[in-house]
């Protein structure tokens, strides 16, 4: 008995020692970036490809270029399971370890991190998700939401509907449904859709889907059928998307009138609907596929060497490439920060400036191996989004292809709403005035 107890004790001690050994060294000899991930839980279907894309681009930079500006990147994932409570723990951990940038990877997590980050002075990159109002850099100096906000997306949806119907004046009497996850993320587009509906005379109908009923949507789709919805915008995530696509097939909803937000454009989301899901649309920020120098480099330096977590055939899928785009923005901000500050390892304030001076021109995109992968995007001191154009992608039964031009968001509508909403946020939360000076890129 005593021997057994002793044995257990030794095993426990060994385990503790092993854990201690794996805790990364504290010394600031690398660029520490904290990134939330959800490779587990009901949202893993969307979280895994994105996480793989982000991680692989960072690994590729480390392998090919030795990091950014010669400094290795320490890219650390913190598993949240899409749970906002857990994301706060992840934020605090990242802060303690000296993160220079935080990727919350959920709108709920972003909302929770925004007040903290303004006190702790840590830049947040919520790429095309999060609080739309945070595009107002004068109010939210520490939050960045390039290249678009959900409100831009909603306005593009209306524009797309108009282009299909033959003009904005033809929208009168039409019905646009919004099927959305009943969570902060899902509700984001509502104000813009309602404001545009008033302006152009169409009707907006809301179809919330509770997180517990993501895979049990039949009643919601009966409502969609009763209301004779003309177009349906899907602000869904995780297990909700494949189910929505399947229900659309089941209910004979015309697939070419079901348009997902860019996050509802996963390959697995569309694939679930089988051959009948052909024609499902999704807004998109970048191209899918592997025919880009940047993806080729990832394949060469990461995937072929067995350093990727992604299955080989999933490299280049839509959400994987989305993850790559997110990492590109982070790397660009850090490179800018190094240039501005002259430091190898920039501070959080430097990275904030780096973010504010992101200017991915055609030439710069080409230099990064991103020619044709996406379009130029620019962030400025007051505009933390850029309200960049997006396009509509179409599922051809096997992959996502481009099916529209790059469409400009209705900026005249969205921007005033953003500024108004930012003002409202500042008033309600006793928000401090911005004191950070605007950065210049040289």
């Amino acid at each position: 008995m005593r021997v057994q107890t002793f044995g257990k004790g030794v095993a426990l001690a060994a385990l503790l020692a092993a854990t201690a050994a794996t805790v990364p060294a504290f010394a600031q000899d690398s660029l520490y970036i904290a990134n939330n991930s959800y490779r587990t839980g009901p949202f893993a279907g969307s979280g895994i490809p994105i996480g793989d894309g982000m991680r692989d681009y960072m690994t590729m930079l480390n392998e090919r270029d030795g990091g950014i500006g010669g400094v290795k990147i320490n890219f650390e994932e913190c598993e949240t399971g899409y749970d906002t409570k857990k994301s706060i723990e992840c934020y605090e951990q990242g802060k303690a370890k000296g993160m220079i940038l935080y990727s919350p990877w959920s709108t709920g997590a972003t909302l929770a991190a925004i007040p903290r980050a303004h006190v702790d002075k840590i830049p947040i990159l919520s790429m095309a998700y999060g609080l739309s109002a945070s595009a107002d850099g004068n109010t939210f100096p520490w939050v960045f939401i390039p290249p678009v906000t959900y409100w831009d997306g909603a306005s593009v949806m209306v524009k797309y509907m108009a282009s299909r119907e033959g003009g904005l004046d033809k929208l009168k009497g039409k019905t646009l449904g919004l099927i959305h996850l009943d969570a902060p993320f899902g509700k984001e587009p509502i104000p813009v859709l309602e404001s545009l509906a008033k302006k152009y005379g169409f009707t907006v109908k809301l179809y919330p889907v509770g997180a517990a009923d993501m895979q049990n949507q039949s009643a919601v789709w009966l409502n969609i059928r009763r209301d004779r919805v003309d177009y349906l915008y899907n602000q869904g995530w995780g297990a909700m998307n494949p189910t929505a696509v399947k229900e659309a097939v089941r209910n004979n909803f015309p697939m070419d009138k079901l348009v997902g937000v860019w996050w509802a454009g996963g390959d697995d989301d569309a694939r679930a609907g089988g051959p009948q899901a052909k024609g499902y649309r999704s807004l998109n920020l970048q191209m899918a596929g592997t025919d880009f120098p940047v993806i080729k480099d990832i394949q060469k330096y990461v995937v072929e060497k067995g350093k990727s977590l992604s299955p080989k055939d999933k490299v280049g899928e839509n959400l994987y490439n989305r993850g790559v785009l997110n990492s590109v923005l982070i790397a660009e901000a850090i490179a800018n920060a190094q240039k501005i500050s002259g430091k190898k390892i920039p501070t959080t304030e430097d990275v904030r400036k780096g973010m504010e001076t992101i200017n991915l021109t055609e030439a710069r995109l080409k230099a990064l191996g991103l020619e044709g992968f996406t379009i130029p995007m620019k962030v400025s001191c007051s505009d933390h989004s850029g309200h960049t154009k997006v396009y509509v992608a179409e599922w051809d039964g096997a992959k996502w292809i481009k099916s529209s031009d790059w469409l400009e968001p209705i900026r005249d509508e969205v921007r005033p709403l953003i500024e108004e909403s930012a003002k409202d946020y500042a008033e309600k939360n006793a928000w401090p005035k911005r004191t950070e000076a605007c950065a210049s890129s040289s």
């Binding site: 949202f43 279907g45 179809y207 919330p208 509770g210 009643a219 009966l222 059928r225």
Partner: protein
């Protein structure tokens, strides 16, 4: 019937609380109908939208009403099936099996995962699907055996709450194990390979179109058959009698020579089969991912309604909840902005509980103090 006996019956007639409720509801309904017919309740009033409009819609659009009922019935049969898994284990082990949801996911993932593995060694199509089905059944049997050996046996005679907590542990173990083996990616259910039909039958009836998915018909038929087989098995066989003995008292069952361990394995395996079928059906309706866990919790209101120990309760409760929540979501959901399905099931269950605290078919428990 003579005058005298009628009088005595009338004299013996007492208004019970139940009858008062029925009378109250009927009176209220009558008032509403009169109000709406005479125009006292206008079309824009709240009362009209809550109490009149949904019923008017049911009459005006009978095709959609029929469709809603059908969706509710299919959902209900599937809920009944999940609830049955809970009831079986509750009867045998006296514990609410919190791991039921993840076991649904685990069973379905094993099926799809085994099919994928067979594909890599060149076995594909229907043959592979049925081998995978066999593998999944074997894994569920092994799981039942392991649960009995590792969880139940050492905890025998412990308070129920300890066993309940143990099923939490089992849940997290299976989540971790499932993610480690199969990864968190959603998978497509191999419905075609298992000869599950696809496509739909459009019925042009009731002045409109009622679409009935062939898959849903299959789900309803298979689930009903499973429920019937299990109910008969546990009603009429030796093992069924033994199960009922165990449900009454572990100690008494042991004293007459019933092997607790054997019963536990059989029951957990039966629950495993139920979970596999549930996983296949829900998986085919959406996809196979860890999100399916939450579907199993849909059985909770069913159990509250039907009673934890009753197989007929699980069936009737499942149907009431399935139909009730679909009708509620469809006709009343839009009034409050939708997504009421998640909690409506509990409200329905609670309303029933007001009148039958032990559930529809549950055993009345009288504990004297």
């Amino acid at each position: 019937m003579s005058d005298v006996s009628l009088k005595s019956e009338l004299a013996a007639f007492r208004m019970t609380p139940g009858l008062w409720t029925i009378a109250g509801v009927a009176g209220f309904a009558l008032l509403l109908v009169i109000g709406s017919l005479t125009g006292a309740i206008g079309k824009d009033t709240f009362a009209y939208r809550v109490f009149i409009d949904p019923f008017a819609q049911m009459v005006e659009m009978p095709d959609l009403f029929a469709q809603t009922l059908w969706e509710g019935l299919v959902g209900g049969v599937l809920y009944a099936l999940i609830a049955l898994g809970f009831v079986l284990i509750f009867k045998a082990s006296g514990v609410f099996n919190f791991a039921q949801g993840i076991m649904v996911v685990f069973a379905a993932l094993t099926l799809v995962g085994a099919y994928e593995k067979l594909g890599t060694i060149g076995i594909r199509g229907e043959a592979a699907a049925f081998i995978a089905l066999g593998v999944a059944l074997a894994v569920m049997l092994a799981l039942a055996y392991a649960v009995e050996r590792v969880v139940l046996r050492p905890l025998v005679n412990q308070p129920d709450i300890i066993l309940f907590m143990a099923t939490f542990g089992l849940t997290y173990l299976l989540i971790g194990l499932g993610e480690a083996i199969f990864g968190g990616n959603p998978k497509v259910m191999i419905a075609d390979q298992l000869y599950l039909p696809r496509g739909a039958i459009d019925l042009n009836i009731l002045g409109g179109r009622v679409t009935i998915q062939k898959l849903d018909i299959a789900a309803a038929v298979i689930a009903s058959a499973m429920i019937a087989i299990l109910a008969l098995f546990f009603q009429y066989t030796r093992i069924g009698r033994a199960l009922r003995a165990v449900a009454d008292s572990h100690k008494a069952a042991l004293s007459v020579g019933i092997s607790l361990n054997q019963i536990w394995i059989i029951v957990w395996f039966a629950a495993g089969v139920v979970e596999l079928v549930t996983g296949i059906m829900w998986g085919a309706r959406s996809d196979v991912s860890f999100g399916l866990q939450t579907i199993a919790l849909k059985a909770l209101p069913v159990l509250i309604l039907g009673g934890f120990t009753s197989i007929p309760g699980a069936i009737v409760g499942g149907l009431i909840i399935g139909v009730g929540e679909k009708i509620g979501e469809f006709y009343w959901g839009p009034l409050v902005g939708g997504a009421i399905e998640s909690w409506l099931a509990y409200i329905i269950a609670l309303i029933f509980l007001l009148f039958r605290p032990q559930g529809l078919f549950g055993d009345k428990i009288i504990e004297r103090i």
